[in-house]
């Protein structure tokens, strides 16, 4: 049975593509067969983040239009076994993703024996975002501890509950979970940032994980190698924990509390932090 996961958020720039890349790579590193699809037609970027941009020949829309086979379009990841990327098209025709076409691609991926298909949604609530969530079994709602992102997450959760196939057919609802990214325990402690508990209380959706704000995210997209491959980094460990939870393991939350500092470092915290950064 193939399970379809949509990575969505409503708001742009919160970390959907980073999450899609790390989730799919992390699942593959755990032995799963994974395909990850970029639904952001016209603004293809998953290929860059995953470091396969120079190997794109055919794309998602080519497959839907019958101009290429899935086998021709799927790009084999160089960093993880059993991971394949289906890049978005750069066409400006947003309607190129037809519902029937998307459904057929997902069915074909299922027949190819993939365990998971990760759908990297575009921002917004337009056609591409709706197509990305229509066939989902699971939704990972990526949210930043920031007012506009939290509100948009609430909107996209409402859309999941009304527009997904599961909702329309009256089946069990899409299983939604929150992934909080760009989290800064220091700013939470200072009262400058919503805490993960605040966000859970507002949105009332189970938590999948909390990813700390980190320079590693930019560095890994610069290099085109998802952060999960550098097992030493906090980001990799936080994504790893989230993926283990997704697979049903009980894993305690990490990186949500500020590291304990001595009295002097707390008083002169800013100086210390600047030196450390």
């Amino acid at each position: 049975m193939t399970e379809v996961i949509v990575v969505t958020s409503g708001k742009g720039g919160v970390g959907k593509t980073t999450t899609s890349a790390n989730l799919s790579a992390g699942l593959a590193l755990r032995g799963k067969r994974v395909a990850v699809i970029d639904f952001d037609v016209g603004l293809r970027n998953l290929d860059l983040v995953m470091g396969c941009e120079r190997r794109v020949v055919y794309d998602f829309v080519n497959v839907i239009n019958g101009e290429a086979s899935l086998n021709q379009a799927l790009i084999r990841d160089k960093h993880a076994q059993n991971l394949y990327i289906l890049p978005a098209s750069q066409t400006r025709d947003k309607e190129a993703l037809t519902e029937a076409g998307v459904e057929k691609v997902l069915r074909d991926l299922s027949q190819m024996g993939f365990d998971y298909v990760v759908c990297d949604s575009p921002a917004g609530i337009e056609h591409g975002a709706i197509m990305a969530l229509t066939f989902a079994d699971h939704a990972i709602v990526v949210v930043n501890p920031e007012v506009s992102s939290v509100r948009d997450s609430d909107r996209i959760i409402g859309i999941l509950q009304s527009r997904s196939r599961r909702a329309k057919e009256g089946r069990d609802p899409v299983r939604e979970r929150l992934l909080i990214t760009r989290y800064s325990p220091r700013r939470v402690r200072a009262g400058e940032m919503l805490s993960y508990l605040d966000i859970l209380e507002i949105l009332k959706v189970p938590l999948l994980g909390v990813i700390p704000e980190s320079q590693r995210v930019l560095e890994s997209s610069n290099a085109g190698v998802p952060a999960v491959h550098d097992a030493q980094s906090q980001v990799a460990q936080a994504y790893g924990d989230a993926i283990d939870r997704f697979l049903g393991k009980q894993v305690p939350l990490r990186f949500v509390a500020e590291e304990d500092k001595g009295f002097l470092r707390r008083l002169f915290g800013n100086v210390g932090r600047r030196a450390a950064a």
């Binding site: 920031e146 007012v147 939290v150 509100r151 609430d154 909107r155 959760i157 409402g158 859309i159 509950q161 009304s162 009256g170 609802p173 939470v188 200072a190 009262g191 400058e192 940032m193 919503l194 805490s195 605040d198 209380e201 507002i202 949105l203 008083l267």
Partner: protein, 90 residues
């Protein structure tokens, strides 16, 4: 109001709690999602039973929807009767 200690330590007032309060208000008002997805199913079942006492209809003949518009929620029920006439209430 910043406390004296906050002033000495140069702390900012707590904007996070303000954010939380504002979000709770706006999200409750916008009601982007049905708080109880089972509610619609229950209403649909009750409508089905009620109509069936008078006219035979199938579950797929009943469309039910809950919309929110600011402070008002609108429940619309549409029942397709067997001879093609439509019974509509809002």
């Amino acid at each position: 109001m910043m406390s004296l200690l906050d002033r000495i330590l140069g702390r900012q007032p707590r904007s996070a709690s303000l954010a939380k309060e504002r979000l709770q208000v706006i999200i409750a008002r916008e009601g982007g999602r049905t708080q109880n997805p089972e509610l619609l199913q229950k209403i649909k079942q009750a409508v089905l039973e009620a109509v069936n006492k008078h006219v035979p209809v199938r579950p797929e003949d009943i469309a039910i929807d809950l919309d929110s518009d600011r402070d008002m929620e609108v429940l619309s029920v549409s029942v397709t009767l067997p001879d093609g006439r439509k019974l509509k209430t809002s």
